[in-house]
Symmetry: C2
């Protein structure tokens, strides 16, 4: 029997317990061995639950139990998750985590400890919930260069943007609705300011470039300034607006950013709606593929954890080559990155704007906005060139990249 | 150095040569060893190509060369591919194939030989081209039951249906266009009659049920009878029409079919257009995910072959558990399967039809069809009940499942 401990018995942690119990027969068949949860670390008690008696508040009961060979970390945050995970790895226990903050901040070190100890540190559930993007990057696209990853990686913001698009709801109303439905937290900052997406694209980019991308170096904008007029312009351009984390490699450099972007109709991410995630991957040989699914939620995320538990269980005595190595990938400065831009201007006199952005196409506003403002959709420009040109105007309302 | 032979130097085979040459640096890094193509089996000569000198017409030059450890089969068809592949496996060589006909007809036996010989028989490229669906099924969804796979698995028919939908083209014109562009073959039967999709869904279902589904037992309909009026009705139902291969498990049985189906707007397959493929997978825990990408094409397919070559190269001395085992999965009889149905009737007198299909909703025709015909969209019914009800009418034009 393989004994597993779960650290953190919130939504995901209790979900992991459930999927392990529910799928005993399949696990037995796949592994030829039983997997059982033998300890759950949490400061709370859970009277009346089937796992009531497994709960302990004492980390050393897990760290010092030689029978526990796999530890699942679903506490979130980095304190004390980092300390506990590191201790488990040093004690020779495989660790599976769903914690993107931990992986983005300490992944490099933890991956190296796992290699040194000949065990595994796995984190499929940290990005894309039930979408097996991390495993797929490692094996499905073996042998080629990944040139681009662009992902709708946060279901909360995608739900909000979808509501704004489909129902013409304001950002505030859509956020309130998301909170009411439990899709957004009371303090929604991590989602709506793009911080969650930032950590996820940092992890994916680190995997692709094989060395750490410091998430603090990634240009990150959220969706709080997006309004319904933006969606009206997007429709005119046969596009949608999505919060995307994106990493694009070119000439040995990698441009990484998190910001709301115009996604044209012929991009497979265009149709990724509501709380779903979609991750577009472009390889130098295979062209574009996309993975789509539930990016969060108890059972999808717990399923991803379970797939990692199985991977660890199948490789108890060896470190499966995985994850990035020591070193740093420094993202290209945002000002050097290339985009198209939708630029909204106050007023109706577009002569100067059309002269400055000579190859831009005009996009006419509808409804209330007509007469009040106008917009241009530029060709591909370097960010700093756009900024320099934009500095000549004092009537720019907003710039959205494409 | 790992020596590879390629059998069949058509589009895919020559693509495999290209991706191996093009990605030498990455391969070296991933494997710590070189991969080189040392022989190509083809009856033709290829003067002026970089691989001119590797070509042989003599299979024994591959079979008997002890230095060749991995053989790629991209000949297509089962004769002589089956005989050659079997001989290579028996000679202890790993085999990677893109040949769905071979895998659907002889996969069970070839997988077993690979296990007995402690080598690998891999076929990622046989389904979904560059989409890593087979590897993902094996590892990304480990530990749970796959309840449904529904796939747009054939780019040719998807291109034709997309053209019919978007441009109102007839089937014949869309097929002719597909042939002109090289998306359809001169004899398009394998694609448009659903035979290609049938073999692919047979392979996917066999993987999921862990025993062979005989493709000849799968109810298979093509798209030759779909007309533009069908698309007009689909639009009224906020749906599209796609040729899908589908396997649904319920109560220990599996319903497998290939036919054109109404796909509603909120299904992620709805937006899969043109020559792209999309494969929806529903797990008992993770819910719905979808994989999207190029289902065919030289480089995407060759990339999938390359990923398998790497898998074999990393596991030279062991059989990685993969594929189904001996035994048969008998699909549920089509007459027992459950669907909704769009039924088109000649004439305008809908009273009897509405009485017989009491819970159906009426769908009104537009344009030319108005006055000439009417249609009903039924609730969920068992196929045999629908057939029995339909037998009461002599004015049914067509039935399309949903």
């Amino acid at each position: 029997m393989i004994k597993v401990a779960i650290m953190g018995c919130g939504t995901i942690g209790s979900g992991v317990y459930e999927v392990i119990e529910e799928n005993q027969a399949i696990l037995k068949k796949e592994l030829g061995d039983e997997i059982r949860v033998s300890r759950i670390l949490d400061l709370r008690e859970f009277p009346g639950t089937p796992y009531e008696k497994l709960v302990t508040g004492d980390f050393s009961a897990i760290e010092k139990d030689p029978e526990i060979s796999i530890v699942v970390e679903t506490m979130g945050g980095t304190k004390p998750a980092y300390q506990f995970v590191k201790a488990c790895l040093l004690a020779g226990k495989h660790v599976v985590t769903s914690n993107k903050a931990l992986v983005a901040a300490h992944g490099t070190e933890l991956l190296q400890i796992a290699r040194d100890k000949n065990i595994n540190f796995l984190f499929e559930a940290a990005v894309g919930g039930g979408i097996p993007v991390i495993r797929t990057l490692g094996t499905g696209y073996a042998g080629q260069e990944i040139m681009e990853i662009t992902g709708i990686l946060n279901g909360t913001t995608n739900y909000i943007l979808t509501e704004m698009d489909r129902r013409g709801t304001s950002f505030g109303d859509a956020l309130a609705e998301a909170q009411r439905l439990g899709y957004a937290e009371r303090n929604p900052e991590a989602d709506v300011e793009g911080f969650d997406t930032c950590r996820k694209i940092a992890i994916l980019t680190s995997l692709v470039t094989d060395s750490e991308v410091n998430f603090e170096q990634i240009h990150t904008e959220g969706i709080t300034k997006i309004d319904t007029t933006d969606f009206a312009y997007a429709k005119k351009l046969n596009a949608n607006i999505k919060l995307v984390g994106s990493a694009v490699r070119e000439n040995g450099r990698v441009a990484v950013s998190v910001c709301p972007k115009l996604i044209p109709e012929d991009n497979p991410l265009y149709g990724v709606s509501g709380v779903f995630n979609g991750i577009l991957i472009r390889g130098n040989m295979l062209g574009v593929t996309m993975l789509y699914g539930s990016g969060a939620g108890k059972l999808p995320t717990a399923s991803a954890v379970l797939a990692d538990i199985i991977e660890a269980a199948k490789n108890m005595d060896r470190n499966v080559p995985f994850g990035w190595h020591e070193g740093q990938t420094v993202p290209e400065p945002m000002e050097d990155s290339l985009h198209r831009y939708l630029i909204r201007f106050k007023g109706s006199d577009s002569a100067k704007a059309k002269a400055v952005f000579a190859d831009a196409e005009a996009v006419s506003p509808d409804g209330e906005a007509a007469g009040e403002e106008f917009a241009l959709f530029t060709g591909v420009m370097r960010e700093k060139d756009m900024q320099a040109a934009a500095a000549q105007f004092d009537n720019i309302i907003k710039v959205i990249r494409a």
